[in-house]
């Protein structure tokens, strides 16, 4: 049975994929997105993260840190089990699609 169309967008996949390695701060994730050309505003990014949290794909929390004698907080995220499954499902879907594309091409050359 071929895998179903994943319920997440490519942007969300990018974020979840990054989080599958390790937990990360929101700022780090935004930097990652901007390195691949995504110019989302900060509120738009956090709105997306909030949606991922609401879907149970990631878990977010504030972490305290001290900078120049002042206490600051930053939002950090890690992947939930559901999130991990979503990443692997999406990855499998694309690999599968990629494989069938290769086969089709080979077949047409033959």
């Amino acid at each position: 049975m071929s895998p179903k169309l994943p319920p997440i967008t490519h942007l969300q996949f990018l974020v979840l994929e990054a989080l599958s390695v390790d937990e990360q701060a929101g700022r780090e994730l935004r930097a990652l997105l901007s390195s691949v050309g995504v110019r989302n505003s900060s509120p738009a990014f956090y709105q997306m993260m909030a949606r991922l949290e609401e879907a149970g794909l990631v878990e977010g929390w504030y972490e305290q840190k001290i900078l120049a004698g002042q206490t600051l907080k930053e939002r950090r995220y890690r992947l939930t089990r559901t999130g991990l499954r979503a990443v692997s499902d999406t990855r499998a879907f694309y690999l599968e699609r990629l494989g069938s594309v290769r086969l089709t091409r080979r077949g047409s050359h033959a």
């Binding site: 900060s42 738009a44 939002r75």
Partner: protein, 893 residues
């Protein structure tokens, strides 16, 4: 501080996104800010704060957008379109409304037209005289060149020096010019006109093309006296020849010499100095016909030419300065006697204003412009009060609209549109007023002696229009912002519930209107006090006696410089004989200069036995060449000795004043003492006369001497006439009689001595009239403004008056109360005005001596008049307040 901003911005964000998007985004921003703030101080810290604030607002705005789930790409054009439609609707509505209230509209536009018109009129002078560039092609590449010596760093030069400079410079096309006055016309139609003598390349340098015929060129600069041609200015051509092309080829008689008219300059060009309108141009080679001096162009020591040049392609100021420096050094080397210590050329970018004009005009224009700004403040304050009153009257309508869903921003924007519309219409009317006033002022005959060829003509150009537009919008904002702000804050509920107190018409609105009246009263007092102080000082000046009798004294100028000494003597004798024959003339004689006029004649003298300080051989003394009856005519009494008789030529004699006698012979009798006039020989003192004012009243006494005209008949002189009857009438009668003696005798500047005395005070008089006119306008506006304030206040407080009367107050009490309130307002404004005038009066001292001292005797009557006017203005509304029927007033609520 960032925390406070964060709290404010967070409130703007919809609830759904505060925690989900705003908080984490701001947490990131704070982290970034901390790293910047820790690093920066001073300016860097301020910039970081500003950036933080802006980004915070951006985050909040973005959150709102996200909540609406729309993209900017669709929002912005829609919003812009909506705004344009709204503006157009507001504009249409405003114009319709203004059209429905023609009286109010006309009054507001007229008020604005007065304020902006006065301001624009003065700005047109500032624009024409001080700001406008040279009316030539590519004025940026034009430069003025001056001669520099020990005494003067911006001097005129002689023709030979100009020619040497022109030859020595390759990067500059250099031309020379000199503005002079000449008698133009024949017979009775002689008048004095402004002529510019120019070199052949002058018009080429300026890059001008003729409107008709040709301009002067190199062929007109070949032989001295051989090029009697003239180019007319467009304005002179239109006024004298009615703009007919047939003028070209006709003759123009300049000092009796026929000049052929060969062309017309382009319209708008009137010379290279903005304040001096030239009537026509003639070749420099014709200088002796236009400005007889008996000198040859080749005289190296005769400096009289200004220079203007155009930088050639590839040349710059530095290279031109270098070349001219070398030329100057060469001149100095070749003519060491003419330039013993220093000679050089100075080069500056060309401006249309010469320094002398700038010095004279800048203080006058600055002061009058300041007055118009004050008038503009009164205008704006007046209209702000009027708009407040309108707002108060329409508050119910606005409350209804508000409760029906109109936005506060819309209401405010409507008010602002109305004010801006009025301001723009007022600005247009002001522009028309300014043009009419400017044209009227240009027709005022100016006294020739001091202002020469100064012209009041102004032009309407893009700077004027831009200034008018900016002034209109600024005034619209000044008088419109406060009512617009208040319109946006109308409270619907209390207004609809109760017709009584409201925000727009309530205490704050009335306070604003009171402040507006206060400002108007203050400014009116300041303007009128300035006029009063100037007027008092002028009257005082006029009342001062110069040391001789000015009543019944008349003068008339003559120029015989083209005639030989014998002809001059003969003509002068015949002229004086004719004048003395007039039955109303007591005595008459000539002199080369007139007391209390500008210009000094000085001569070097040496006194045997008197050691001059600093080892100099001679001392310079001011003098006047006078006829024997001069002292009697002016009423200058002799202290010792006597005047010389008409034919008393041997031994040559001198009359000196008391200061002269005291200084050189403190212990001896001056009469009979010898004096050496340098270059002319020895003379003897024949008499000593009383000191009088020579240049201005109140000057320090100076040594002065009188030389008999019989020694050398002067080429240009003034006939002084002492009359027994009305001097103006006698001078008027004498003018044709003097002209009839001989065609070569053409009297000009025929006037009474009192008229002449007013000439140096002309700028001060102008400033005084401007202050008086603007002050009176301000006074009228103030009275109208006060009437409006009291009327509105009475209308709003009718219920209060009703209650008070129902409780037993008498109508007279009510009326007195209203008048007292208006009086208090005026009193406060008058006190502020007098205080401002007290501290600001010093600025007037530069206009006329004695005007800078505050004089309560001037200010208090003005305040009194203003007070009376205010009572008159407040009387009718106060009477209305007293006539309020308590029953009607209480039922009306």
């Amino acid at each position: 501080m960032p925390d406070r901003w964060t709290g404010l911005c967070r409130r703007l964000v919809p609830d759904s996104l505060r925690e989900r998007a705003f908080d984490p985004a701001v947490a990131d921003l704070r982290q970034e800010w901390m790293s910047h703030a820790a690093a920066g101080r001073g300016v860097a810290l301020a910039v970081a704060r500003l950036r933080y604030g802006l980004r915070l607002v951006a985050i909040a705005v973005e959150c709102r957008r996200l909540a609406m789930n729309v993209s900017w790409a669709t929002v912005l054009p829609e919003r812009r379109e909506r705004r344009v439609t709204m503006w157009a609707r507001d504009l249409r509505r405003t114009l319709r409304m203004l059209g429905r209230q023609p009286l109010f509209t006309a009054a507001a536009i007229a008020t604005l037209a007065l304020g902006t018109g006065a301001n624009l009129t003065i700005f047109s002078f500032v624009n024409t005289f001080l700001l406008a560039p040279l009316p030539a092609r590519d004025p940026a590449s034009l430069v003025r060149v001056y001669g520099v010596d020990d005494r003067n760093d911006r001097d005129v030069v002689s023709y030979p020096n100009f020619v040497d400079g022109r030859k020595g410079v390759t990067g500059l096309d250099l031309s020379a010019h000199a503005v002079v006055s000449a008698r133009v016309g024949t017979g009775d139609a002689i008048d004095v006109r402004t002529v510019e003598l120019v070199t052949g390349n002058y018009f080429r340098v300026l890059g001008l093309a003729p409107a008709s015929g040709r301009l002067l060129d190199e062929r007109d600069e070949v032989t001295e006296g051989a090029h009697p041609v003239a180019v007319l200015s467009h304005g002179y051509w239109r006024s004298r020849f009615a703009g007919q092309v047939s003028a070209i080829g006709q003759k123009l008689y300049v000092n009796g010499v026929p000049f052929e008219i060969v062309g017309i300059t382009p319209p708008g060009y009137r010379g290279t100095f903005s304040a001096h309108a030239v009537d026509f141009w003639a070749p420099l080679m014709m200088h002796e016909s236009v400005r007889p001096s008996g000198r040859s162009l080749s005289r190296r020591g005769w400096g009289w030419l200004s220079m203007i040049g155009r930088l050639q392609p590839g040349a710059d100021l530095a290279s031109v300065r270098h070349e001219l420096g070398l030329a100057a050094a060469d001149i100095q080397k070749r003519y060491p006697n003419s330039f013993p210590s220093k000679f050089d050329f100075a080069v500056t970018p060309a401006s249309a204003v010469n320094e002398a004009d700038r010095e004279v005009m800048t203080p006058v224009l600055a002061m009058v412009f300041g007055f118009t700004v004050l008038l503009m403040i009164v205008t704006c304050a007046n209209l702000a009060g009027v708009m407040q009153a309108r707002l108060a009257a329409r508050r119910r309508e606005m409350a209804i609209r508000l409760s029906l869903g109109a936005g506060r921003g819309r209401l405010a924007s409507e008010w602002l549109t109305e004010c801006l519309c009025l301001a723009v219409l007022g600005g247009l009317a002001g522009l028309i007023v300014a043009r009419l006033t400017g044209a009227g002022l240009a027709r005022i005959p100016l006294p020739l002696q001091i202002l020469g060829d100064l012209s009041f003509e102004t032009a309407l150009d893009w700077r004027m229009v831009a200034y008018a537009a900016a002034l209109s919008v600024a005034s619209g904002l000044v008088f419109g912002l406060a009512p617009a702000w208040r319109a946006g804050r109308v409270q619907a509920f209390p207004l609809l519930k109760d017709a009584g107190g409201t925000v727009a018409g309530g205490r704050r609105g009335s306070r604003l209107r009171k402040v507006a009246v206060l400002v108007q009263v203050t400014v009116s007092i300041v303007l009128l006090t300035a006029a009063g102080l100037l007027g008092a000082a002028l009257v005082r000046q006029h009342g001062l006696t110069p040391g001789f009798q000015t009543d019944g004294l008349g003068i008339s100028s003559f120029n015989l410089q083209r005639e030989t000494p014998d002809v001059r003597r003969d003509l002068t004798d015949r002229l004086l004989e004719r004048v003395r024959r007039h039955p109303a003339v007591a005595s008459a004689d000539i002199s080369t200069s007139v007391p209390l006029n500008i210009g000094r004649d000085r001569m070097g003298i040496a006194i045997p036995g008197y050691v001059i300080p600093n080892g100099r051989r001679s001392v310079s003394i001011d003098f006047n060449m006078v006829g024997p009856d001069f002292f009697q005519t002016l009423g200058i009494g002799f202290v010792d000795g006597q005047s010389w008789s008409p034919r008393d030529l041997a031994p040559a004699a001198l009359v000196v004043n008391e200061t002269f006698a005291r200084r050189f012979w403190p212990d001896k009798r001056a009469v009979g003492q010898p004096v050496e006039i340098i270059g002319r020989g020895m003379v003897t003192v024949a008499g000593v006369v009383r000191d009088h004012a020579y240049y201005e009243i109140g000057e320090t006494p100076m040594p002065f001497m009188y030389i008999p005209t019989a020694l050398q008949p002067p080429g240009s002189f003034v006939v002084h006439v002492r009359t027994k009857q009305d001097v103006a009438a006698v001078m008027k009668e004498l003018k044709p009689q003097m002209a009839a003696v001989d065609p070569r005798l053409a009297p000009y500047d025929v006037m009474t001595f009192d008229e002449l005395r007013r000439v140096p005070l002309f700028p001060a008089r102008m400033v005084m009239w401007a202050a008086a006119a603007f002050g009176l306008i301000a006074l009228m506006l103030t009275a109208v403004g006060l009437y409006g304030v009291v009327s509105t206040s009475v209308a709003q407080r009718s219920r209060e008056f009703g209650v008070r009367m129902a409780l037993g107050a008498r109508p007279a009490d009510i009326q007195r109360g209203v008048l007292r309130e208006a009086g208090a307002l005026v009193l406060l404004g008058a006190a502020a005005g007098i205080a401002t005038a007290y501290f600001g009066a010093r600025g007037l001292e530069s206009m006329v001596a004695g005007a800078g001292t505050f004089n309560a005797a001037v200010s208090l009557p003005i305040a009194l008049v203003l007070g009376l006017l205010s009572i008159l203005a407040a009387w009718a509304p106060a009477a209305r307040a007293a006539a309020v029927d308590p029953v009607v007033a209480l039922k009306g609520s």
